[in-house]
């Protein structure tokens, strides 16, 4: 096969030493980039050159490079994960770009996601939202036979679509309010759609929304930017579902009576 035409690009990359210091843009050239390379492989090559020149390589989070672990993610020309729909930046390939283009790379910007270094930020707020109730309380052992809980295919599929969230943070990053409603909504919906999730659904909705607010994320104003940026195309209906669950939980939640037996 004939050799494909390579690209030359100008990168304006956000460099920031740590959370305490101010960052700034630095300009780098990416030369002879293969259109078959992924975006991160292009950055790898830039880094190899930086290291050889005695400069510090650009730091970014990444791991599986298959679009499933949720580690990678930054803004490319204002778009979370770059211009291609339903794609993480590791699965974005250079054939999406044109020779001579200038690309501006910025980290996710949200108060709840402080920058650690360069394009890497701290998304542990998501873990704390899950910790607040994104689970079904079932200990290991003693689970009943899996087929004794029939679940309609429609609900199972819908729950699956909500559960595909990879917690990359693109929703927060692309939202003008840095709202985590899509992330939180997806987990609340996933579990609320399944019979196993019914028992705790009220507490789950209340606790997860409360944690989401406490982490400093903004409110949803239904701009739809989150869903547009989401590499897994999580639907806005998840936010609606969260709101509904939250409303019901707020009014329907029963007061816990003090426990204790007579023994």
């Amino acid at each position: 096969m004939e050799a494909k035409k390579t690209l030359n690009l100008t990168l304006k990359v956000w460099r920031q030493k740590n959370a305490q210091t101010e960052g700034a843009f630095e300009t780098y050239e990416a030369k002879d980039v293969s259109p078959d390379a992924s975006f991160l492989e292009m950055l790898d090559s830039v880094n190899e050159i930086l290291i050889k020149k005695g400069e510090l390589p650009i730091v970014f989070d990444h791991d599986c490079r298959e679009g499933i672990c949720g580690s990678c993610g930054f803004m490319i020309n204002g778009n979370a994960h770059g211009p291609q729909k339903s794609t993480t930046v590791c699965q974005l390939h250079m054939r999406q770009f044109e020779d001579g283009q200038e690309l501006v790379l910025e980290p996710w910007r949200a108060s709840a996601f402080p920058v650690i270094k360069d394009l890497m930020c701290d998304r542990s707020a998501f873990d704390r939202i899950i910790k607040a109730g994104g689970y079904i309380s079932v200990n290991t052992g003693g689970a009943r036979d899996a087929n004794s809980i029939p679940i309609s295919k429609v609900n199972a599929d819908e729950a699956f679509l909500s559960a595909t969230c990879i917690a990359c943070g693109a929703c927060v990053a692309s939202c003008k309010n840095a709202s985590a409603a899509l992330f939180t909504g997806a987990k609340i919906s996933h579990l609320a759609l399944l019979p196993q999730g019914q028992v705790e659904k009220d507490e789950r909705a209340l606790n997860m929304v409360s944690q989401m607010d406490a982490e400093g994320f903004g409110a949803c104003t239904t701009t739809g930017a989150c869903s547009a940026a989401c590499p897994k195309e999580i639907s806005l209906t998840n936010i609606a579902k969260m709101n509904r669950e939250y409303l019901r939980a707020s009014f329907a939640q029963k007061e816990e009576v003090a426990g204790g037996d007579l023994a």
Binding site: K12, F25, M75, N77, G78, N79, A80, P83, K85, V104, E106, R109, A110, S111, A112, E158, S174, C175, K176, N177, A178, S179, A181, L206, V209, S210, M212, D213, G216, F217, G218, A219, C220, T221, T222, T223, G224, A225, A228, A229, S235, L236, T237, I239, A240, K241, M242, N243, R244, E245, Y246, L247, S250, F251
Partner: protein, 221 residues
């Protein structure tokens, strides 16, 4: 309950609820005002009927005022929280497929202008020039004359039209997102709701627009 009202989700419910009150109001307000296209008599009679029942009037005004204050209060507090959520801005704004809808981006600015409009609107009409007229033996305010006068001032008409266009976006986004905030959005409804919201907003705004344009262009003083 207090938790609910303090949460972002709860506040969005409040905004949606109060927004709905005003959505209902602007629709009926627009429908009633269409009488201007019928005759001065009909218009003035309609205006008189509304102010005649004081209990109903004050009741309605109180509800509207309360809704407006709540709506604005929630908007301000949420906007402040949202600003805190995004403490630094991006150098480049999104474009292409991943860009959010424009109407949703400027709800705050639209809202502020619309608030200014409401206040000015009340000053001009409700608390504006008082003329009297007699219709079928009943003495009443000649609102029709005020309208005709005001809508012949070009600057006012332009301001009115601009504000109405803003209202169009504000209503279309609000009418759509209220379903989201209330949690009644389902996958299959997504596209339909957006359309319904637009149809509603266009009807309201087109109705309102027809009035000054009719007066300014067709109705002589």
């Amino acid at each position: 309950m207090l938790e609910f009202l303090k949460s972002t989700v709860g506040r969005k419910y409040l905004m949606g609820l109060t927004g709905l009150v005003w959505m209902g109001f602007v629709l009926t307000h627009m429908a009633g005002n269409m009488l201007i296209l019928v005759s001065a008599k009909a218009y003035n009679q309609y205006g008189h009927a509304i102010v005649s029942n004081k209990i109903l009037l004050y009741g309605a005004e109180a509800v509207l005022l309360l809704a407006l204050i709540t709506h604005v209060y929630c908007a301000i507090t949420l906007t402040l929280k949202n600003r805190r959520g995004r403490d630094s801005r991006y150098a480049v704004t999104p474009n292409g497929e991943k860009a959010p809808s424009r109407a949703s981006q400027f709800m705050g600015i639209q809202g502020s202008l619309i608030l200014a409009f409401i206040i000015l609107h009340l000053i001009t009409f409700k608390y504006g020039n008082y003329y009297e007229t007699t219709v079928d033996g009943v003495v009443m305010r000649d609102l029709h004359r005020v309208i005709i006068e005001v809508f012949h001032i070009p600057v006012y008409v332009i301001w009115y039209v601009v504000c109405l266009i803003l209202l169009l976006f504000h209503l279309s986004h609000g009418a759509h997102s209220v379903f989201q905030s209330f949690g009644i959005l389902e996958r299959k409804m997504q596209k339909g709701l957006k359309k319904i919201a637009w149809v509603y907003a266009v009807i309201v705004v087109a109705g309102f627009l027809s009035q000054p344009l009719y007066v300014f262009l067709i109705h002589k003083k």
